[in-house]
């Protein structure tokens, strides 16, 4: 099958994106986020859990959490293109919630074969989940997971576990006799301790998961094929989130540049400002088109999904870094203050930029595919 001209973006997908945008614009503006997440400006504030669980539950009722769950397990099984469109809107609002980790877990579970069915049914029933894969060095390579299966139970400490304070379940990658497998357990199970990290990003939470003899359901003994299939989808969704956040950064900064007067002119009159913001727009548009291209490849040409997803995540990560730096710079002194909402998106973007591999990491993998 070849990639359709419109990236396979159906009316249904457009409707989902549109309604998500409206719902978030009505209920979750940047000042709401600021009031909720930025209450305490001290650097030592430690892990805080700031989110609107009520609004998240409404989204769950709309079925957002089960979009990536196949119909056979009670989900919706939407194409990745549609899910990416939704994640873009989530990023535009920087909405704190466990949707991205839950979708990520869903893609891994779907790719894991029969063992994934029961956990997917739990997600279809409202469970949320995060991935415990990364070691203390921040390696996203599943083969380097810090967790081991010892006597049928999980041992070890996983780091950088996303939104772990908001999820009900963990999908753990752990080394076993077959290599590395996937394991499913509730976050409040015995032998599970969660320690929240103090992080830069105020729109997410993150933590370390210490597993000491925790019992879990084995989803699959060899996770390699599941990671091969699911990672391009996960990279694409994080890239989509960055594209949406970038759009907010651009729009907000352009509004400021149009309104703020300096040297008797609006800031945007000056080419040194105008050209930077145009370059931000160009980077956003490229990243957005690559995200849709990558999602569409995953849906229709799986053999090409990895290379397109590397491109999308690399472009989005670099865009996020640039859009963030320019949004603060073009706001001038105001942009350097806690009161200005710009810092919220700056921090989310810096966080997303590094999750699951930054630009150079993805380009190095892409080069291995293209150049050999």
């Amino acid at each position: 099958m070849t990639q359709p001209d419109n990236f396979g973006f159906t009316e249904e997908a457009a409707l989902l994106k549109d309604s998500a945008r409206k719902m978030l614009a009505e209920n979750f503006t940047a000042d709401v986020l600021h009031g909720m997440a930025a209450g305490d400006p001290t650097p030592e504030r430690g892990p805080a859990l700031a989110w609107d669980e009520g609004l998240w539950n409404q989204m769950q009722e709309l079925g957002w959490g089960l979009l990536a769950v196949p119909e056979a397990q009670g989900g919706v099984g939407m194409p990745l293109v549609a899910v990416a469109g939704l994640c873009e809107e989530l990023g535009r609002a920087a909405f704190p919630c466990p949707l991205l980790p839950t979708l990520s877990a869903s893609y891994l579970l779907s790719a894991a074969g029969a063992g994934g069915a029961a956990p997917l049914e739990e997600i279809a029933g409202g469970a949320t989940a995060s991935l415990a894969v990364s070691n203390a060095r921040g390696s996203w390579d599943f083969a380097e997971t810090p967790i081991e299966v010892v006597g049928g139970k999980l041992e070890g400490t996983a780091c950088f576990v996303q939104d772990v304070a908001k999820v009900s379940h963990l999908l753990v990658c752990a080394r076993n006799a077959a290599g590395a497998g996937l394991y499913w357990l509730p976050v409040d199970a015995e032998g599970v301790e969660v320690q929240g990290d103090a992080i830069v990003d105020l729109s997410r939470d993150q933590g370390r998961v210490i597993l000491s003899g925790a019992e879990a359901i084995e989803v699959c003994a060899d996770a390699a094929p599941a990671f091969d299939r699911a990672m391009p989808a996960i990279w694409t969704l994080y890239a989509a989130d960055m594209v949406g956040a970038g759009e907010w950064q651009l729009q907000t900064t352009v509004e400021y540049a149009n309104q703020r007067q300096q040297f008797d002119r609006p800031l945007g009159f000056f080419q040194a400002v105008k050209h930077q913001l145009v370059d931000v727009m160009v980077d956003i548009d490229r990243a957005k088109s690559l995200v849709y291209g990558a999602a569409c490849a995953w849906d229709t040409e799986p053999e090409k999904a990895t290379r397109y997803a590397h491109m999308a995540k690399a472009a989005a990560s670099d865009m996020a870094a640039y859009a963030s730096s320019r949004s603060v710079q073009c706001h001038g002194g105001i942009g350097f203050t806690w009161e200005c909402f710009i810092h919220l998106f700056f921090k989310r973007q810096k966080h997303s930029q590094m999750l699951w591999g930054d630009g150079p990491w993805h380009r190095a993998r892409l080069a291995d595919i293209v150049i050999g």
């Binding site: 419109n6 651009l250 009159f269 145009v278 690559l290 892409l366």
Partner: protein
């Protein structure tokens, strides 16, 4: 089956099949003379004759101007030029020599000339028999187009033109020129008017065309001096003082954002397009030896090639997204980025190729040891023609900032 074929209407599918069949039989043999990289570097009559014969043949076969009405020499078809272009690209045909005529003059004449003038000018433009050039730039007004000073003074139903145009590609072969000039010195934008002028027949009688040598050592562009050239008022396009608005039609098409599908893209793509993308960079890096291994083993080179690849793919996906209205917030946002991105991506590719070549990048056309025949240094130098012409990249960023992002005008 390709994406293109999947979305063709029955009429378009038939047209595509006919075009493909004709091209299989009629794509010309390579010429005995060396062809330039693009129509803008045509230097000799031998080159021109070969390319003109090709455009004439393609026109007679219905592959040029096919979306224009039959009355003006077109094919009267619906959205078929895109298909002709795709098939010509697929068949790797030579480019068309009348690139300014097809890309800029044709849509401008079509949208702004009187019916009679259209019927007189356009058939010979499409067939390539009349080569066209564009009299916009002046020594004192590069990308500040509203500042042109070439002046036409009214004398009955004639105009007397005096002034100095420069960087005029193809003027040395051109029969006709689209000409932006000033008819009123007291106002800036509203003092401009737009003409079509027969320059070849006026050589030595009010028009002088002198070749300029480009940075690459090639000729192909010129300066044009008007010294009391008399032209008839019937050669004026649109109303007096509306030259700026007419010029916007030209520029929209020049920058690839025009409404009417012109044959330009089919004519512009050439063998060099295939040779200057990131796959060619990968190939070059594999062939280029370094002190330890090849350039393709160098992590920095690998990263830079991947950056180029991602930019190219982004451009392709932008084009794909620009065809889906649902996925855009502003109708001109992607279209206006196109010229900026194409020219800068091409420039950076060629610049990277020179970095990959290292010392061998010093070797130029004519040196037997030059990698790829010295095309990369030439492509790099030539690329500035595209980041400067038709509005510099800086002007293009102003336009994007002002028209799409709504920021205050820079002038």
């Amino acid at each position: 089956m390709s994406d293109e074929q999947l979305k063709d209407t029955p009429e378009q599918a038939q047209f595509r099949a006919d075009a493909r069949a004709w091209l299989a039989e009629n794509t010309p043999e390579p010429p005995t003379v060396r062809l330039p990289q693009s129509p803008l570097e045509i230097m000799t009559h031998e080159q021109l004759d070969y390319l003109q014969a090709w455009q004439k043949a393609a026109y007679d076969a219905g592959l040029v101007g096919c979306d224009y009405p039959v009355e003006v020499g077109g094919g009267g078809r619906d959205n078929c030029q895109r298909i002709a272009n795709e098939e010509m690209l697929r068949a790797r045909t030579p480019f068309f020599p009348n690139v300014i005529g097809l890309g800029m003059a044709a849509p401008t004449v079509f949208y702004h000339a009187q019916e009679e003038l259209k019927q007189r000018l356009l058939p010979a433009l499409f067939s390539g028999e009349d080569i066209w050039c564009q009299g916009f730039s002046e020594p004192g007004a590069g990308s500040d187009l509203a500042n042109v000073q070439t002046f036409a003074e009214r004398k009955g139903d004639k105009w007397v033109i005096n002034g100095h145009k420069v960087w005029t590609s193809l003027a040395h072969f051109a029969e006709w020129m689209i000409l932006l000039l000033r008819t009123d010195k007291s106002v800036k934008h509203d003092g401009l008017s737009y003409f079509v002028v027969p320059i070849k027949s006026a050589l030595g009688k009010g028009v002088t065309v002198s070749p300029l040598i480009k940075i690459t050592g090639e000729t192909g562009f010129n300066e044009v001096i008007f010294d009391n050239l008399e032209v008839d008022d019937s050669y004026r396009l649109d109303e007096l003082g509306k030259g700026w608005q007419v010029a916007m039609t030209t520029l929209l098409h020049e920058r690839g954002a025009g409404e009417l599908v012109t044959p330009r893209s089919g004519g512009m793509k050439s063998e060099s397009t295939h040779n200057t993308n990131s796959h060619a960079l990968v190939d070059l890096a594999r062939r280029t030896e370094r002190s330890s291994g090849t350039a393709a083993d160098d992590p920095l080179i690998r990263d830079r090639i991947m950056q180029q690849l991602i930019r190219e793919q982004g451009l392709a996906d932008n084009n794909r997204r620009s065809r889906v209205p649902d996925l855009q917030d502003h109708p001109m946002r992607l279209a206006l980025q196109n010229k900026l991105l194409m020219s800068e991506v091409a420039q950076d590719s060629a610049g990277l190729a020179m970095d990959i070549e290292g010392a061998a990048a010093s070797l130029y056309l004519g040196d037997g040891q030059a990698p790829d025949g010295g095309q990369w240094p030439m492509a790099y130098m030539n690329s500035f023609g595209f980041t400067i012409a038709a509005g510099t990249s800086e002007v293009q960023r102003n336009i994007l900032g002002e028209r799409v992002l709504g920021m205050a005008k820079s002038k």
